[in-house]
C-alpha cells in the first residue's frame, strides 16, 4: 500500500514536471510574447566585523567577514509564469583559498493562478515556520547572526540540515480568506536525507533512495498577527554518509530511521512592539537502532521598531541535542542571549549591531571540560542592490 502511494506520488511529480514546462511552451499569451519582460538582476550582501572572546580564556578573535552575498535573476516568462535563480556566496568565498562556499540556492519556475494557488517547480527553499524562506534575505531580517539553525555561515560546524528542510523541488502554496483572517498553506516534495556526497560512489547531490521528503505549513494571518504549524517527514537509510549513521556503523544498510520535523511559529506587531518566535522539534523513530535521538530548538525575539525603521531587539535561543545509543550518550545544549539594533541608512542600506552571549554545555566532557561561554560582538552593513 505504501509502495503504491509512493509510486503514485512519483507519477504525479513526473506529470507536473513535464506538464508545467509543456504548458509554458505552448500557452503563453500573445500579449506576453509581444512585450517580453526584462531580465531583472538584483541581490544583496552583508559584511561584518566581529569580536569573539572565550570566557574560559584564550582563543579571542577579531575578524572581518563577507558573511553572505546573493545574486538573483528573475524574468517573467508569461502572464502567470516567472523564473527565478538565486546564487549564494558565504564566508569570504574563495575557491583558490578553499574558503567558504558558493551555492546554487534556488532555480525555479512559478505558475500563479491567483492568491489561492501557486505552484513552484525546481530547486527551492521550502516553507517551514516563519523564517526559513527569508533566512538568507539579510536586508529584511534584523539579525547579523541568525537563530542558529538558520545561520548558513555556521554550516561547517552546526548540522543545520537536521533542523530545517533546505531544499524542495515541487511546492504548492497560497492563501484563502476566512472573514478578516487569511489561511496560508504550503505543501511540498523534495529529496530525502539520503543524498550522495561521494563522487566515488556515483553522481553527487542526488537522492540515492526511492524515498521522498514530504512537508508543509498551515498558518493564519490576522492583521499583524501570524501563526503557523509546520511538518516534514522523510527517512534516513542507514549506511549512507550522514551523522546518525556514523553512530551506528554496524547496522545493516537496509535499516531506515523515519525523521519527523515539527515546527511552530508565532509573530506579531502591536504598535511599535514586534515579536518573532519559533519552535522546532526533530524526532526520530526510536523503535529502530537509534534508541533515542531528540533535537529541540526555539527562539524568542522581542523588539521595538520606529516608523523610520530603526529596530532594537532582545532575543533568546536554545538548542538541545541528545543522542542515546548502545555505544554512548551525547548531549549538547546551547543557550544564547542576544541584543541587537538595526538602523536604516536608506531603503537599501542598513547598519546592524548585535551582541550574543553563548553558553554551551556538553556531555561527554572534552579534556574534563563540560561547559564554556563565549561573548560575541558584531557590527555589519547589509546592502541590497
Amino acid at each position: 500500500m505504501r509502495r503504491n502511494n509512493q509510486h503514485l506520488l512519483r507519477l504525479l511529480l513526473t506529470g507536473l514536471l513535464i506538464a508545467g514546462p509543456a504548458y509554458l511552451t505552448l500557452a503563453p499569451s500573445a500579449e506576453a510574447q509581444r512585450h517580453a519582460a526584462p531580465l531583472r538582476i538584483f541581490g544583496y550582501f552583508q559584511s561584518q566585523f566581529y569580536h569573539q572572546e572565550w570566557l574560559g580564556g584564550g582563543g579571542d578573535q577579531n575578524s572581518f567577514q563577507l558573511q553572505q552575498l546573493n545574486l538573483m535573476l528573475q524574468k517573467d516568462l508569461a502572464r502567470r509564469w516567472t523564473a527565478f535563480v538565486n546564487f549564494e556566496v558565504v564566508n569570504n568565498f574563495s575557491s583558490f583559498r578553499d574558503w567558504g562556499s558558493f551555492n546554487l540556492e534556488e532555480a525555479w519556475i512559478r505558475w500563479r493562478f491567483d492568491n489561492r494557488l501557486s505552484l513552484r517547480l525546481g530547486l527551492q527553499i521550502p516553507t517551514f515556520n516563519n523564517l526559513n524562506t527569508i533566512k538568507n534575505r539579510t536586508p529584511v531580517i534584523p539579525y547579523i547572526i541568525r537563530p542558529l539553525p538558520y545561520e548558513r555561515s555556521f554550516e561547517e560546524f552546526i548540522r543545520i540540515d537536521e533542523y530545517i528542510p533546505q531544499q524542495a523541488y515541487v511546492q504548492a502554496f497560497g492563501w484563502l480568506p476566512i472573514g478578516s483572517a487569511k489561511i496560508d498553506y504550503a505543501a511540498y516534495l523534495g529529496n530525502s536525507a539520503n543524498i550522495n556526497e561521494d563522487s566515488d560512489l556515483g553522481q553527487t547531490g542526488i537522492d540515492t533512495t526511492d524515498l521522498l521528503l514530504f512537508g508543509g505549513r498551515i498558518g493564519m494571518r490576522w492583521g499583524d498577527f501570524k501563526a503557523g504549524a509546520s511538518i516534514t517527514y522523510d527517512e534516513y537509510v542507514l549506511g549512507n554518509s550522514v551523522a546518525i549513521i556514523e553512530m551506528e556503523p554496524e547496522q545493516p544498510s537496509t535499516n531506515k530511521v523515519p525523521r519527523l520535523r515539527l515546527g511552530g511559529d508565532l509573530s506579531f506587531r502591536l504598535g511599535p512592539i514586534f515579536s518573532e518566535n519559533e519552535i522546532i522539534n526533530v524526532r526520530y523513530d526510536e523503535s529502530g537502532p537509534v534508541s533515542d535521538l531528540d533535537i529541540l530548538f526555539y527562539y524568542l525575539t522581542l523588539g521595538v521598531a520606529t516608523d523610520e525603521g530603526v529596530q532594537v531587539y532582545a532575543s533568546y535561543w536554545r538548542t538541545d541535542e541528545s543522542l542515546v545509543t548502545d555505544i554512548e550518550d551525547l548531549d549538547l545544549t546551547l543557550d544564547i542571549y542576544g541584543l541587537g539594533i538595526v538602523v536604516p541608512v536608506s531603503g537599501a542600506f542598513f547598519y546592524k549591531a548585535q551582541y550574543a552571549r553563548v553558553e554551551q554545555e556538553f556531555k561527554p566532557d572534552v579534556n574534563g571540560v563540560t561547559s564554556q561561554a563565549i561573548n560575541y560582538f558584531s557590527m555589519a552593513i547589509s546592502v541590497s542592490f
Binding site: 531583472r40 538584483f42 544583496y44 546573493n70 538573483m72 528573475q74 502572464r79 516567472t82 527565478f84 538565486n86 534556488e106 525555479w108 512559478r110 500563479r112 491567483d114 492568491n115 524562506t133 527569508i134 534575505r137 536586508p139 529584511v140 492563501w175 478578516s180 487569511k182 521598531a305 516608523d307 523610520e308 525603521g309 536604516p344 531603503g347 537599501a348 541590497s384
Partner: protein, 147 residues
C-alpha cells in the same frame, strides 16, 4: 485688534474648514479607467500594496504605483493602510528577494501620478484630490481628517 482684520481672519477660518477646502486635500485612491471595479475597501487596497492580491477580478495584473519618499500624501496613504513607509519598503523588498515581484514604480508629485495611472492599463495609485482628473477612476477617498 482692528475690526477689518477680525473679519479677514474669520473668513479665513471659515474657508479653511469648508467642505470644498477639505475635499481638495483629501487623498484619492485612483485607478486606470479600464479596471473592472468602481470602489475598493481599505483591506483590499492593503492586499494590493502588500502583494497578497495581484490580479483584478478580470484576471488582469494589478500595476502598483507609489509616490516618492518624504511626501505628505504618501505618508497619509500608508498611515491610512496602517503601515509606516519603512514597513512597506521592507514588505516590498521581501517580495522582491523572494522572486515574487518588484516594488511599485514611484512618481514625484500628484500630477505625475495621475498621468501615470491614466496612461497605464490596470494601474492603481494615489494622489491629492486637487490633482485628480476625469482620466482616472476614484476608488476610495481618504478624508483629510479621518474619523
Amino acid at each position: 485688534m482692528p475690526t477689518p482684520w477680525r473679519i479677514i481672519l474669520g473668513l479665513l477660518a471659515v474657508l479653511a474648514c469648508s467642505p470644498a477646502s477639505a475635499a481638495e486635500s483629501d487623498v484619492c485612491i485612483i485607478a486606470h479607467l479600464d479596471v473592472p471595479i468602481d470602489e475598493l475597501s481599505r483591506g483590499s487596497i492593503l492586499d494590493f500594496y502588500t502583494g497578497d492580491i495581484r490580479q483584478w477580478s478580470d484576471g488582469s495584473p494589478v500595476v502598483l504605483f507609489d509616490q516618492e519618499d518624504n511626501d505628505t500624501v504618501r505618508d497619509r496613504f500608508f498611515s491610512f493602510l496602517g503601515k509606516s513607509s519603512s514597513r512597506m519598503r521592507t514588505l516590498w523588498m521581501k517580495r522582491m528577494l523572494a522572486g515574487e515581484g518588484e516594488p511599485p514604480a514611484t512618481y514625484g508629485g500628484d500630477s505625475a501620478m495621475v498621468a501615470a495611472v491614466a496612461s497605464t492599463p490596470s494601474a492603481i495609485g494615489f494622489a491629492q484630490r486637487s490633482a485628480v482628473t476625469d482620466d482616472v477612476k476614484v476608488l476610495l477617498v481618504i478624508p483629510e481628517r479621518e474619523p
